[in-house]
Amino acid sequence: MKIVVDLTRCQGYAQCAFAAPDVFAIQGDEALLYDADPDDTQREKIARAAAACPVQAIFLDREDARNRQSGRGTHVPAPGPEEAFKRTGRIVIVGASLAGLVAGSTLRREGFTASLTVIGDEPHLPYDRPPLSKQVLMGQVPARRTALPRRDEVDAHWRLGVAATGVDLNGKQVLLADGEKVGFDRLLIATGVRARPWPNEAEAGLDGLFALRTPEDADGLRQRLAAGPGRVLVIGAGFMGSEVASACRELDLPVTVLERGKVPLGGALGAVIGGVAAQMQRDHGVDLRCGVGVAALEGDDSGRLRRARLSDGSTLDVDVAVAALGSIRNVEWLEGSGLAAGVWGVACDAGCRAIDVNGVVTDDVFVAGDVARCPHPVYDYQFLALEHWGNAVAQSGIAAHNMISSQSERRPHLALPEFWSTQFGTEIKSVGVPTHADQVVIAQGSVDERRFIAVYGYRGRITAAVAFNQSKWLEFYAGLIDRAAPFPPSFSTVDQPTDAHPVAVEVPERPTPQATVVVTGHGPSERRATLVRRTYL
């Protein structure tokens, strides 16, 4: 059977691990790892686990779902053109992963009964990626067994294994790689991101060099790790790289992590909390080298990776390397479509409607998930691109709802950004945007024990909070962000460090991706923008 845990909601109560100990396991204080595809014999215990979860974060596939008359999701149709659309319209979703699946089931749940087509270039039904860098690498779950449960049967035409290559907004059709054209009335773009490939093409082909985004990637890497390599090199200490390093240490493999910045996770959490992460890595036996990059990767005659020459002049013998270099948005298929799509993603408004090159919102094209770039009022209306599981779920739910709602019933995507990472037996959780900050303070707990809450502030207002193994408190801080509470927090709490004072957050300058636009025409009726193609770094 298939299960998925919404780890953004999970607060580590461990009720699931008590009820079904063969399926759910707690590492350290509250880091939950689970088998996404457990044996059917566990079904009864898993049902108990799901019912017991205090925050109802566990979802099972539908074999189990009965006809439940009550609860959420009972929909009272209001008459109007949107009701007709629900019975006769055509919706196409491009991208058959988390966002695409959630959007599809939301559409069905909210009463869309007409034609639904989901197009995905991967051959798989929607699967979950977070386990790929955690349970899968540790060998607890096979890479190809993280399929997402389907709670509501998404009765759709699944076109898997074929990429969308273009979209004709005037003709209202999506073009497929096999030459087919699929017509739509409304379109959802959910094509996500892919791993940034190793920049040196010759080196990129070395056997033993991996990126990590898909089950194929994870499977290959897992096999190499299981074979007990001499040393693993992880290039880039963001969340992905850090989780890979953690899995290596869990497997007792020697691992070196290279990070160009000062500390791991610095790009997401700033140098102060990144420093805590650095110590955590070293305490777990990671050979962490900051301020160092790779000058070259070298292989042997048969093309197997053997050595890395580092930017500081040293060399390292390695059999396996993981390039955790961040991501590239899957927007190429939208080139020339007239949408504001580029390296920054696909721009949309807070109602998930795509924005065209002129900066005008479209009516029939929606965007959600990792590929979207959307303004957030809490963060000065800046356009944020978020590669977080919870964002894909929340945003695609809103997008789907808005696709079949009249203007007055449409909702804004105002959820605060949230993510988790499980590494070195520690649950790291974040709410808000930690890089939208100038100062940070430890509000609760102890950094030495790695059980603490760090609160981030920007110009006197709380903008983010990050918890290490303290997730039960985090929703309180989310409330403070919602209310634009003053920074630094000045109230008394339990477990308040006596010597805490705000320090500079040290977040890296974030270069805004450049969009080069040429405007032509005279007067309001003629002026139009065109995106100019450039090669960006």
Binding site: Y13, A14, Q15, A17, F18, A19, A20, P21, A25, I26, Q27, G28, D29, R43, E44, K45, A47, R48, A51, A52, P54, V55, Q56, D64, R66, R68, Q69, S70, G71, R72, G73, Q444, G445, S446, E449, R451, K472, W473, E475, F476, G479, F491, S492, T493, V494, D495
Partner: protein
């Protein structure tokens, strides 16, 4: 004379059988100030927020209005006061105690422990129901679900878990009663409650001290032996801390589950269609959902009165001033239409049940993973085995305690007992 507040009426034992209309009244003002300066919070969102609010403390002994003289004041007669246990401590102390207690109880160190107790639970339940036979008069057997079943069963379980001899019930029963009386806000002011609770806990601690003395050098696989061995992720607890937490576990382990089982049987008898579904046994996870719904609909712990504000806290437009005691009315919150649709309907088929029955946040019930299967098994077996059960009195007589609410007796007439379907392995 001031009008009796809704809260005062709730505390009044005459409303014990059905406090829910009063809770509905209470919810009209989500945060109410009582005459004694304490605050009562009754709406779902506000309770959830406060359960996760680090500005609330559970260290009531530090409550400013108690003054400096109460803590650790040795009572003249009887044993010395014990240090705070897990439910009375704030982090980081709370978290340390909790990790140490969990070490021999569940994940990460003993993940399968509770799961492995399930055959035992079934065996105890089976033999207790077997005991209903032989009291038959004119074809009818009258059983008291409380005294004959729902009370003895969890006591047996917690005794096994703690390594306490079951025969000692006569010894600890009165002390345990005294502890739960002390958390009843209708029996005196906060200072008075604190004093009586400390005294009753110290007495129970004394019982445990004697027990451990007698057992010295013969550690078992029980929780107390684990704590005494000092094995765990934290520095070993002091002897007094062990006694204090042992006393809490003994009380919490049986004064609550009895009410969940009894409230459960009462609710099932009031909803025969659900009882029937449970009896038929065609839905393997029905018992699970029934128990979760009971925790929402008829929760054994109606409210928490063990917190106070460390700072001014604004909730739903009201400021709770620093130093004020705060009551969180879990039972009212779980029936708040703002938190759950059709709250007054008992509906085990709810798709999403985020009830407050076990609290929330860091003090979330430690024993929940045990109380759940206890009640699931108890209700399933009662449903399957009792022939034609009928309520003798509705409502049944209630215990006076407004916090830990439940029937004092639940008399049920049956036409006999079916044989157990599956014998414990």
């Amino acid at each position: 004379m001031a009008q009796t507040s809704i809260w005062q009426q709730i505390l009044d034992p005459s409303h014990r059988a059905d406090p829910f209309p009063l809770y509905a009244e209470l919810r009209k003002t989500p945060v109410v100030r009582e005459e004694d300066g304490s605050y009562v919070v009754s709406t779902y969102r506000e309770i959830v927020a406060l359960l996760h609010d680090p500005r609330l403390s559970s260290e009531m002994r530090n409550l400013p209005e108690l003054g400096a003289d109460t803590p650790a004041q040795a009572s003249e007669e009887g044993p010395a006061e014990l240090p705070p246990n897990v439910i009375q401590a704030d982090p980081p102390e709370h978290d340390r105690i909790r990790r140490q207690l969990t070490w021999n109880f569940g994940p990460p160190h003993r993940p399968g422990r509770v799961d492995s107790m399930i055959p035992d639970l079934l065996e105890i339940v089976t033999s207790e129901i077997d005991g209903f036979t032989g009291k038959e008069q004119l074809g009818t057997t009258r059983v008291d679900i409380v005294d004959d079943f729902a009370y003895p069963f969890p006591v047996t379980v917690i005794c096994r878990l703690l390594g306490v001899p079951r025969e000692d019930e006569a010894l600890f029963q009165a002390m345990s009663d005294a502890v739960i009386k002390a958390i009843d806000p209708s029996t005196g002011g906060i200072a008075e409650q604190q004093r009586r609770r400390a005294k009753a806990t110290a007495d129970l601690g004394q019982y445990f001290a004697e027990l451990l003395d007698a057992r010295h050098g013969q550690p078992g696989d029980d929780l107390l032996s684990g704590l005494l061995s000092g094995d765990g992720p934290e520095a070993p607890m002091s002897y007094e801390q062990i006694l204090s937490n042992a006393a809490l576990l003994l009380v919490a382990g049986h004064e609550t589950t009895v009410n969940l089982i009894t409230n459960g049987m009462l609710t099932l008898l009031r909803h025969p269609e659900v009882l029937d579904r449970l009896r038929r046994g065609a839905e393997p996870d029905l018992a699970t959902r029934v128990v979760e719904e009971l925790l929402r609909y008829e929760p054994p712990v109606q409210f928490l009165s063990n917190r106070y504000a460390l700072d001014d806290i604004e909730v739903a437009g009201t400021t709770i001033p620093k130093g004020s005691p705060v009551n969180l009315v879990l039972a009212a919150g779980s029936r708040d239409p703002g938190g759950v649709p059709n709250p007054d309907r008992f509906d085990p088929d709810r798709e999403h049940n985020e009830h407050l029955g076990f609290g929330g946040g860091i003090h979330y019930c430690f024993g929940a993973p045990l109380a759940r299967p206890e009640t699931q098994i108890a209700l399933t077996e009662l449903a399957r085995r009792l022939k034609n059960p009928r309520l003798v009195a509705d409502p049944p007589p209630y215990r006076p305690n407004p916090t830990l609410r439940g029937p004092r007796h639940l008399l049920v007439d049956i036409d006999g007992v079916n044989p157990a379907q599956h014998r414990p392995p």
